[in-house]
Symmetry: C2
DNA sequence: CGCCTGTCTTGACGTCTGTCGAATCAAACG
DNA sequence: CGTTTGATTCGACAGACGTCAAGACAGGCG
């Protein structure tokens, strides 16, 4: 069973996604979005769960968006976030492959 | 099937490990260590694979060490690094759980 | 012992990050 | 319309990060 290592280019592509997960607030945000019953959740339900200000939450959500981990759309007054599974699956697979049995 | 979200404390604990993976050089270092044929690899084999200086590689290796992702020991002149599977498995599992089917 | 080679630490530097308050934009509602 | 409420953007700031050159440390070998 061959385990070949990442190319430099693959590392450059994947690292920003891990980086986006590398902040406690973002990790918890992602987790809340992922476990939302309807598959999506309103920012108004996310913000009060944290000690930080609303602009800060907005900044973290944008970071997750730009990393390709979540997607958002506005419906009327509220903005809803949902998981975008593609990149997250890549990360999970990579970690599983790199981890020795 | 219940998917409950991370506690703040779990997020604080896990985020640093993701953060450590959030740099292209570190990600590739980890990958090279993980795919080393003998399960471990000498720093002298890692350093020449990158464009950055040896101190920079040393700094990144320490970061991976402090994140609990790798372990090192010196044998004579050379220092060998190997994967420490525990935390990596946690990360992989977390990502798999958070990713919708 | 004294030197050489491999690795790590230190000091310094520019840049990026996380945070906030204030200002702005978007949409509903009088 | 003007106002209110939710969400984002802007401007600013302290702190952390990634990088390197220079120095320190550790082990082998004359």
């Amino acid at each position: 069973m061959v385990r070949h290592s990442l190319t430099a280019q693959a590392a450059v592509t994947l690292a920003p996604a891990f980086k986006a997960l590398g902040d406690p607030v973002r990790l918890q945000l992602l987790s809340m979005i992922a476990s939302a019953p309807e598959g999506e959740i309103c920012v108004c339900d996310l913000t009060p769960a944290f000690e930080v200000s609303a602009p800060t939450i907005s900044y973290h959500l944008r970071t997750l968006r730009e990393a390709g981990l979540v997607d958002a759309d506005r419906r009327g007054t509220w903005v809803y976030y949902r998981i975008r599974p593609g990149v997250m699956r890549q990360l999970a697979t990579l970690l599983a492959v790199e981890t020795p049995a």
